[in-house]
Symmetry: C2
Subunit: 387 residues, 2 copies
């Protein structure tokens, strides 16, 4: 298929199959905010709301409004989400909750992570672009500065593992901050210099610790001195979809920097290694987990196919093709495209299923929960639709 | 098969296939304690140790030594575990860790739960019976008193959900305390009166809140006033293997109380309801999760077959048969027996696999991790082997 056709198809799916599902079934016009616990047909399964998804849905609707189509339904959705975040998602200490009730009362606060914050940041940054109001870009920037401070403070985040005894560092943090900084930069070019430097340091961290020439793998976790934690399940854990997502954040940076050759090769290498580990050449799809040494995995759902690794593999191969013109990447993109539209997309009710077994049969027909909502799927359709 | 043959077969499997696997591959003769992160053939996959399993393995080896066979290898194992628990598993505040390093340094401490404690209690109680030393039964009793105090204190356990906004109570706590109290009573008949009263109150709590005539189900969670939390995934979550485990704790109490008719009928009802929900009549095996209203589950591994629900279903049906002489239960026991020995048992290397897909194919060949070790499998073989 010519890439122009993909672009048009993806735009159409974004606007006609994905966003309408969430607008119709998820948006809470009574209390504000968005529900994500929705069944196949949009029936509400869970009245609590995910704080991650207030920010992520804001990113999705604001970005679509800014870059794809200035539909007032999207604009209304963004205002609803901005207000709900302001009114209900922050604790008095400035940290964000993880889960709130339908009415916005706090239900769960997580002390180990700042992902609620990073998703609010990208939401505000995109909203700033949508409504052309720099004050939201500045709020996003200031919250990013706070998150960076949380990261270095010993007192604010409570690590799960005793860092005196088994110290470790994770790929997920620099990787999500990289994307967060990129989104803030789009909205706030005034801080380009600071954000470029931050992005440089995050990519350096990723490259130094997690992109492992010795193993030809992207690790999720290692010791602070860079040692491979071969004796622990967590040390050997690979998450190909996650690494491939990180790969395209770096390819995106290469593109931003006029096809910077070092960044391009770094992103391509990460994609190459983790595609080899993740792609199920027999049945299609990116598998969830693997073990770096090929040992027996402890995560019993390791061989399931989740929706989002497929989204990330589609974007990464698409972007790799755009940067290299190498047909291999377009062929892989086409493989992912065929796979996802045969197994994940639900043409009857819109949106995607989230969870398939190893053999691609459906595990559960629901469309959303605390971890699936309007983000990875619409982001993929958006990214491919863009010039 | 006559029940005497089952008894002999189960004793033989306990002594010849299960315990040797852990003695040979899990016992750490250098640092003390037991490793449970073992591959199919016993190769070490994870050097950290589960604190749950120091207590649970102690229960298993001590109980086998006391009631099945006084092999000194089992006695040596119990001493190794008792020492490791004393030296490495308690924090200075008296709470226990969740995970420690090979050498016994603390790696993870969980603040929401006291399961490390309940497993140390049953371990000490069994050890007291094995070595006929009442001091360990008294230690078990005192730690049980502490755990009961943690339960009612508002300051010690940190709940995941904000109890002001979404208060809830769980089946797991009274259920595990019921078994813990029963094990302490076996070791410390001197405290029978206190423990009988505690057991009465726990069963009353289970019966009042979680055994639901209105739904004909055993719930895992409900509101403190007993309301069914129909609008939340967690409120609708059913765990048939867990409920069936609770059913046999109650059947066990019925047996202890000369076949008490009320307790017997309560346990049989729980078994009946949750067997209906859990048993896969097409492919065999107890499924992991279900939704109380038959809605789409959010737990994507809901249809997998884990080892331990099969163990609990075997014990519950065996015990139901022993209490009622109703052939239906023996037939079901035989179904479970055929199923587990066709799919879970590994005659080549000993022990069982832990995780099968919905269709009973193997998800991972490992024999243990932080959640699987010498407990449910040997307990089943032990329970069925007993007169």
């Amino acid at each position: 298929m010519p890439i122009e056709t993909y672009r048009e198809t993806y735009r159409k799916r974004l606007l006609e199959s994905i966003l309408p599902f969430w607008l119709e079934h998820g948006m809470d016009r009574k209390n504000g905010g968005i529900y994500t616990g929705l069944d196949r047909d949009g029936t509400l399964l869970e009245t609590d709301k995910s704080v991650w998804f207030q920010g992520r849905a804001l990113w999705t609707f604001a970005t679509t409004y800014a870059d794809v189509k200035d539909d007032t339904a999207y604009l209304d959705a963004t205002r609803n989400l901005v207000d709900f975040i302001d009114n209900h998602c922050f604790d008095t200490d400035g940290r964000m909750f993880f889960r709130v009730s339908a009415e916005g009362q706090p239900v769960i606060k997580r002390t180990r992570y700042f992902f609620s914050e990073t998703f609010a940041i990208i939401g505000w940054a995109a909203y700033s672009r949508a409504v052309k109001d720099i004050s939201y870009a500045l709020r996003a920037f200031r919250l990013l500065e706070k998150v960076l401070a949380y990261r270095t403070s010993k007192d604010i985040l409570v690590p799960k593992f005793n860092q005196e005894i088994e110290p470790s560092i994770g790929f997920g943090v620099p990787m999500i901050l990289l994307n967060t900084a990129q989104e803030v930069r789009r909205a706030l070019p005034e801080r380009k210099q600071y954000l470029d430097a931050l992005i440089d340091s995050l990519i350096t961290e990723i490259e130094r610790y997690f992109v492992r020439e010795d193993l030809q793998l992207v690790l999720e976790q290692c010791a602070p001195d860079g040692s491979f934690m071969a004796e622990h399940f967590e040390g050997r854990l690979l998450n190909p979809g996650h690494a491939i997502e990180g790969a395209w954040f770096i390819l995106n940076e290469a593109r931003y920097r006029d096809n910077d050759p070092h960044l391009r090769e770094l992103g391509l290498k990460m994609l190459e290694w983790m595609w080899r580990i993740g792609w199920d050449s027999e049945r299609g799809g990116i598998r969830y987990f693997a073990d770096a040494l090929g040992k027996s995995p402890t995560e019993y759902w390791h061989d399931m196919k989740f929706w989002w690794p497929q989204n990330e593999a589609a974007i990464a191969n698409w972007m790799a093709y755009r940067l290299t013109d190498d047909q291999k990447y377009l062929d892989r993109f086409a493989m992912v495209d065929t796979y996802i539209h045969s197994h994940f997309a639900d043409d009857e009710y819109g949106e995607w299923y989230g969870y398939l077994h190893k053999d691609n049969s459906l595990s559960t027909p629901l469309k959303g929960n605390m971890f699936k909502g309007p983000f990875h799927v619409p982001r993929m359709y958006y990214m491919v639709s863009q010039p």
